[in-house]
């Protein structure tokens, strides 16, 4: 058995690292192809930027165009929007769970809104609130609170009936059942909603920033676009993708911690 172990370890390492390495390699390969296409003149450099040029523009974006500050501005907006989305979504989800009639009447609507491109509502807020953080954060709150409410409601519905029976057997009051059983049991699933809420808020805030040329990361992309700085624009987009990936990874980690197998 002992001589089989290193082999198994290798296999395990391959399983763990294989897909990631493969993914990275494919990305590098595609980058290389793009590089060659642009260098050979097949791809128009006024539409696509060579990856090398794009990466080099990143530094310029940080030093000259305050990409770091833009990131912090977007981050602050996304976090405050998520916080507000939780303040709205958590009680809303609970209400839809608690009052079954309301739940049956509105869960479908909420699910439909979750699937709709709410970003199209921005002109409305632009008119009502103006071209300021009020509009970007409001859009973040609206799009973010929907998954929070939906998943919270779902999470409360999913609480194991056996655990509720345990509470009843111990003569818990309704309030005790809520705080000691329903809430902790619902936390992992509700957190999935909060994770989606944060991602939705982030995506929508960046999108609106781009559309109204205001705020943080989205504004940087729009500035580069208006400046016809194509490598700079792709560099900013690349940075946004990196940030999103980072967010996703961190949130997934938290979620796994909340939901041990």
């Amino acid at each position: 058995m002992t001589h089989a172990e290193p082999h198994q370890k290798q296999r395990l390492a391959f399983v763990l690292w294989g897909p990631r390495t493969a993914g990275l390699l494919v990305l590098l390969f595609l980058g290389l192809i793009l590089e060659v296409l642009v260098a050979s003149g097949i791809a128009d450099p006024s539409i696509v930027a060579a990856p090398s040029e794009m990466l080099m523009s990143l530094e310029r974006l940080f030093t000259k165009d305050n990409l770091g500050a833009a990131f912090l501005i977007t981050l602050a907006q996304a976090l405050s929007a998520t916080l507000l989305a939780m303040l709205i979504g958590l009680p809303l989800g609970w209400t839809l769970f608690r009052y079954e009639v309301l739940g049956r009447a509105y869960r479908g609507w909420l699910a439909a809104m979750f699937a709709a491109p709410l970003v199209l509502l921005y002109p409305l807020f632009l008119v009502i609130i103006g071209r300021n953080y009020g509009t970007t954060i409001t859009m973040g709150v609206i799009t973010g609170s929907i998954p929070v409410a939906l998943y919270t409601c779902e999470a409360l519905h999913k609480v194991s009936p056996t655990l509720l029976k345990v509470g009843a057997a111990f003569n818990l009051t309704a309030k005790q059942t809520f705080t000691l059983i329903q809430v902790p049991a619902a936390v992992p699933d509700a957190f999935t909603g909060i994770r989606l809420g944060l991602i939705y808020a982030l995506v929508n805030i960046i999108g609106i920033e781009f559309l109204i040329d205001f705020g943080g990361l989205g504004r940087v992309v729009s500035t580069m676009f208006f400046r016809y700085d194509i490598p700079g624009m792709y560099a900013a987009i690349f940075f946004i993708i990196l940030i999103s990936l980072l967010f996703l990874t961190v949130l997934k980690k938290v979620e796994r911690w909340l939901r041990p197998v």
Partner: protein, 264 residues
């Protein structure tokens, strides 16, 4: 203080979504004496859990009543502690915090309740696992955690619904030994639901045999085996005679159950 339990003419019919009516319990009668260990045995699907849930006040009966210490009750009763058939530990609490749950609800001081919980953790043989979470334990250990959690509330009447149902035979026998010791020490009135004949004979003062659906108590058998007992008892002739006698009663019922499932 007495802790007696009586089930009088309790019946229950369920209606499924498509309108089918399933009579789970025909009027069932049963009495458990102070300090007695009674097992209810029957083929699966015969209404054991339904009876358990009615006695524990989880669901109302269609007719009849449950009488605790001479008083008719509806809903959960503070003297009754329940151990459920399904997974029931709180996954977000450690073993110790699971066991201390009822004490926490009762408002007991942290130091005091953890000390008391430790005692019950030891009683079910989980010392060393106090700070483990349920997902880090085996199924048997989780079930022992659930038992300790119920015991810690010191119920005068302990109801258990197939607590060892999902365990392998060896683990089950060893846990049976543990349970015997615990019951000898605590001397509470106990009602155990099981589909395992050996387990029923090993642990009980009396075994009630249930018929297949609609479930009702067909008869009860006194198990006159000396106490204290342990799992060595199962190799004796007297033990085998009891097992044979109960199997004789159960065989026809189990057969009916199999046929009913076959038709469905």
């Amino acid at each position: 203080m007495t802790a007696t339990l009586e089930v009088r003419n309790v019946s229950k019919t369920f209606e499924s979504d498509n309108g089918d009516r399933i009579q789970a319990l025909a009027p069932a009668n049963l009495g458990v004496k102070q300090g007695e260990f009674l097992s209810i045995i029957g083929p699966s699907g015969c209404g054991k859990s339904t009876l358990f849930n009615i006695i524990g006040g989880m669901i109302p009966p269609d007719s009849g009543e449950v009488i605790v210490n001479g008083v008719s009750v509806s809903g959960p009763h503070k003297d009754i502690g329940m151990v459920f058939q399904e997974e029931s530990t709180f996954p977000w609490r450690t073993v110790l915090d699971n066991v201390a749950f009822s004490l926490e609800v009762a408002g007991m001081e942290k130091k005091e309740r953890l000390e008391k919980a430790r005692h019950f953790v030891e009683l079910v043989g989980l010392t060393g696992f106090e700070h483990h979470f349920p997902h880090q334990l085996s199924g048997g250990m989780r079930q022992r955690t659930a038992i300790a959690r119920t015991l810690a509330s010191e119920p005068r009447i302990l109801l258990m619904d197939e607590p060892f149902g999902a365990l392998d035979e060896q683990t089950r026998l060893l846990l049976g030994d543990k349970l015997l010791k615990i019951c000898d020490a605590l001397k509470q009135t106990t009602m155990l639901i099981t589909h395992n004949i050996t387990e029923a004979v090993q642990l009980s003062d009396r075994v009630a045999v249930m018929s297949y659906r609609p479930g009702t108590i067909m008869r009860t058998i006194d198990i006159e085996l000396p106490r204290p007992r342990d799992s060595e008892l199962i190799s004796t002739d007297k033990f085998a005679a009891y097992v044979g006698q109960i199997w004789e009663d159960l065989r026809t019922e189990a057969d009916r159950g199999m046929k009913a499932v076959g038709e469905a």
